[in-house]
Amino acid sequence: MSTVWEMKREAHTEQLPAILGFVDSACAGANLPEDVSFAVRLATEEACMNVVNHAYETGAPGPIAIRIERRPSDIVVTIADQGPPFLPASVPEPNFDMSAEDRALGGLGWHLIRQMMDEVHHEYDPAVGNSLTLVKRIPAHRDTTGACA
């Protein structure tokens, strides 16, 4: 038994309220422990912002498709775009050995996705584009209020 939320929009900043509103309401409606909901919302926002800001930098704007599936023991988010291949390995890790004055603004999105989710998979198929899958497990011994059972 699972519940699925799906949306497809143009990956444009004008669509951000709709995209982030969708993510927010799916997380709120998925009956998740508070920390799991926070993590999924954050990782999904970061991934969507990456697509909106970078996927179509070099070409015509295209779509972003988001699918959120709440299964009994985990939640699976899939974010697809039709931009050029995204290379996760090419994203540098942020350097924390710097003062605030020297730190770059940004560059934290992908880092937070990796930190927040249990599994992160990326696939590129020339016929359909990029597909990023994020998985967060839901601890079995906890109820949805986040308290220990």
Partner: protein, 114 residues
């Protein structure tokens, strides 16, 4: 996805109280509000995060930009009252070691007086 920002002047610092979610939509408004204070000469700034339930990296960008600008102007931007979830995002992003953070707003304000 709303954000409410209010400002309180105290003797040692200006407290900017932030309430709501700081995300890819609201982060720009937060940055504008904080920079407005710095531009007006209020360079001893405290960000009251007690009522911030969520922040993404867009919010962190606004906070870091404010710290940089405040320090350039001879002041600082210090944070207080982060909830455990927001504190974790700050920690995972290496912000807890480069920003001054306090559990209580009063302590953050007092830190400017010493």
């Amino acid at each position: 996805m709303s954000l409410e920002i209010s400002v309180e002047r105290r003797a040692a610092a200006t407290v900017v109280r932030i309430a709501g979610s700081v995300d890819g939509i609201t982060a720009d408004a937060l940055l504008s509000a904080l920079q407005e204070q710095l531009d007006a000469g209020h360079v001893h700034l405290v960000g009251d995060l007690v009522e911030v339930g969520y922040t993404s990296s867009a919010g962190l960008r606004s906070l870091l930009a404010t710290v940089k600008l405040a320090r350039q102007k001879g002041g600082d931007f210090r944070l207080a009252g982060a909830t455990p979830a927001v504190h974790r995002v700050l920690e995972l992003s290496g912000f807890t070691t480069i920003l001054k953070m306090y559990a209580e707003v009063d302590d953050a304000v007092a830190s400017f007086g010493s």
